[in-house]
């Protein structure tokens, strides 16, 4: 099912009388999510991700704007009639019911034509349980299972009704690092097998990048950029998106463009054809540095961390106090005895942003 949001806005009224203005949690969302895709909704804590999800599920009513599932306007439809499955951050499994009872609960509520016989319900429950691979745990209570297993039960309960749209609110945040990797692949697999349009909320950019068909990057209720993970990473529209995506983080320098040349400090670093003059944020991805004794970017060398295939060069630039991290191939020769290290740059890994508006300044290379 295609999901379309038109000018979707949610303003929470303020409780405090002195402060008239409410909190704008979601600010004019305009987006079309194609059928059958896995979409990552990504942003820092408190930016309105959960609110956006609650609007789509119908648990919150929008202040303004419309929501369409396919061509149907569902804005005024109560949550139970929208055909959405929702998985909460803490799973919200009923603690007094077994796994089987938990998964069956939504089916037992079906009325009228949709009503199922006992056998049909059993079959659907088994099918959902097998899909998330918890078929052997059916008689356990949630407290007797690991976080990862509980998470699968929550997904099974959300998909047993065959929802048109599946919403996952930070489903991995309670898991440890290993389980997280495993479970996110699992979510990807389940989504592929069922083909349910899925929106997946996270504040972990790596998580979103690794499994999403599309990512939506948002901050303070506003969408900053939408696109394929690699495209957003390679071509950020503003400083926020550039700094939010990627580990290690992108390196940010105060720079200046003069006569189509980029300066950091007094050194001329790069030709930036077509860029206008002015102060900029010069951002360089860690993998954009090439160790080069004759390179223009001369830094103070703090150390080299060998991480197998790659090495991480830690340095500082005289014009800035921030630590620079460069990821270079282990084969590249860096004389650790020296105080300084010089780099030339891959121009497509360098992004310029206006110092005031933080908008992207494009240049040719």
């Amino acid at each position: 099912m295609k999901v379309v949001l038109k000018d979707l806005t949610k303003i929470f009224p303020s409780r405090n009388k002195k402060e008239k203005q409410g909190v704008t949690a979601v600010d004019h969302f305009n987006i079309e999510i194609p059928d059958g895709k896995l979409v990552g909704l990504l942003g820092p804590s408190g930016c309105g991700k959960s609110t956006a999800l609650n609007l789509i599920s119908g648990l919150e009513t929008p202040t303004e704007g419309k929501i369409f599932f396919g061509d149907v306007d569902v804005t005024d439809l109560p949550p139970e009639n929208r055909g959405v499955g929702l998985v909460f951050q803490n799973y919200a499994l009923y603690p007094h019911m077994t796994v089987r009872q938990n998964i069956m609960f939504p089916l037992e509520n079906l009325k009228g034509d949709a009503k199922l016989s006992k056998e049909q319900m059993e079959e659907r429950v088994q099918q959902a349980a097998d899909l998330v691979q918890i078929g052997t745990l059916m008689e356990r209570k949630p407290a007797e299972m690991s976080g990862g297993q509980q998470q699968r039960v929550a997904i099974a309960r959300a998909i047993v009704k065959y929802p048109d749209v599946l919403l996952l609110d930070e489903p991995l945040s309670n898991l440890d690092a290993r389980l997280r990797l495993q479970t996110r692949e699992e979510i990807r697999r389940i989504q592929r097998e069922t083909g349910i349009t899925t929106i997946f909320v996270t504040h972990d950019q790596e998580e979103a990048m690794s499994i999403s068909d599309f990512i939506i990057v948002m901050r303070s209720g506003r969408i900053h950029q939408v696109g394929k993970p690699q495209n957003v990473y390679d071509d950020p529209v503003d400083l926020f998106v550039a700094t939010f995506l990627g580990t290690p983080q992108i390196n940010v320098f105060e720079g200046e463009v003069k006569d189509e040349k980029l300066f950091i400090g007094d050194a001329e670093i790069l030709d930036v054809k077509g860029a206008r003059n002015g102060k900029v944020w010069a951002c360089i991805r860690p993998e954009g540095f090439i160790p080069d004794p004759k390179g223009p970017l001369v830094c103070h060398l703090n150390g080299v961390e060998v991480m197998g295939r790659d090495s991480s060069v830690v340095a500082t630039h005289p014009a800035d106090t921030a630590i620079i991290r460069a990821i270079v191939s282990s084969e590249s020769e860096i004389d650790k005895a020296l105080d300084t290290v010089s780099f030339s740059l891959k121009p497509y890994k360098v992004h310029l942003f206006d110092r005031e508006t933080e908008e992207r300044i494009r240049f040719d290379y």
């Binding site: 599920s57 119908g58 648990l59 949550p79 139970e80 009639n81 959405v84 499955g85 929702l86 909460f88 803490n90 919200a92 009923y94 603690p95 007094h96 609960f105 939504p106 509520n109 079906l110 009325k111 209570k141 407290a143 309960r157 009704k161």
Partner: protein
């Protein structure tokens, strides 16, 4: 390991001494009193040991009346007060704005002196040569015949006693249940809503199981409290409860010790131990039932 154990016991010693002096010793003492036959409190002598005291108490019509009263009180007030408290808490929980206000109102009886409240109840229900009492005024308003609730027929007195008991225990139960309801994670209700769960089913399948530990706690303490009822009856009917036919088991014990017909610690002890046995049995049954029904 052994040494550690010793240390542990040493730490426990003050508490054990305290418990021993004020709980175990009196209990044993009561047990001994209850089997001393023909005890004379003036001369502190007795004939011998036996079960005569129990037999006497169990054949005493006043005691049988007290047991009867107590059981009626328990059977009526515990379920009704718990059920009422649940209804009120559910209502409170659904009207967010009035919550704080109503919580204060319902908590008032809890902080008010029992005897003072008893007095008010007496004014409400008592018939005097000068006035009919407020309740009787209401009854005659609706065309009924006036009843003397304080000195009148047994059922009327029992009604007042139950009414009063329920009124006194309600606030505590409401307080416990509202906080139990408020502590149920709202996400469960959101999930249930997305699954189109009917309200009644939400209540029976989610809310009730979630707060069932608290409900059982209230039932068990309610049983124990009602079995030990005494001051409520005194507040309403005065100290001559046997005369009023409204005595309770604890009242009977008190009368045997200090009342007009008092001075029989052996009978009092026997009655107290019979009460102990009853409460113990009921509590065990309660715990067994709750163990089977409270699922987590």
């Amino acid at each position: 390991m052994k040494k550690n154990n010793l240390k542990g016991w040493l730490y426990l010693l003050p508490a054990l001494l305290f418990l021993g002096a004020f709980m175990v010793y009196p209990l044993i003492d009561v047990l001994i009193y209850s089997i001393e036959e023909g005890y004379n409190s003036a001369s502190q002598t007795f004939f011998g040991y036996g079960l005569y005291n129990y037999s006497y108490v169990l054949h005493d019509p006043y005691f049988l009346q007290a047991i009867n009263n107590t059981f009626i009180l328990v059977a009526i007030t515990v379920p009704i007060s718990t059920g009422f408290a649940l209804l009120i808490s559910l209502a409170l929980n659904s009207i967010q704005k009035l919550k704080d206000f109503f919580q204060t109102v319902y908590f008032l009886p809890y902080v008010t002196n029992t005897l003072a409240v008893g007095l008010v109840f007496m004014i409400l229900f008592k018939k005097t040569p000068y006035s009919e009492g407020l309740v009787n005024l209401l009854i005659s308003w609706f065309g009924g015949r006036s009843v003397d609730f304080i000195d009148g027929p047994y059922w009327a007195k029992m009604f007042v006693l139950c009414f009063y008991t329920i009124w006194v225990v309600l606030p505590f139960k409401v307080l416990i249940l509202t906080s139990a309801l408020a502590s149920v994670n709202q996400d469960y209700y959101k999930v249930a809503k997305l699954d189109a769960t009917p309200r009644w089913r939400v209540f029976t399948r989610i809310t009730l199981p979630m707060i069932s530990p608290m409900i059982f706690y209230l039932v068990i303490t309610g049983f124990i409290g009602a079995f030990k009822a005494y001051s409520d009856a005194v507040a309403l009917f005065g100290t001559d409860l046997n005369g009023a036919g409204m005595n309770t088991i604890v009242g009977y014990v008190y009368d045997m010790l200090y009342g007009n017909s008092g001075g029989y610690p052996s009978y009092a002890s026997a009655a107290a131990l019979i009460l102990f046995a009853i409460v113990l049995t009921i509590t065990c049954i309660n715990l067994m039932v709750s163990h089977d029904n409270v699922q987590y």
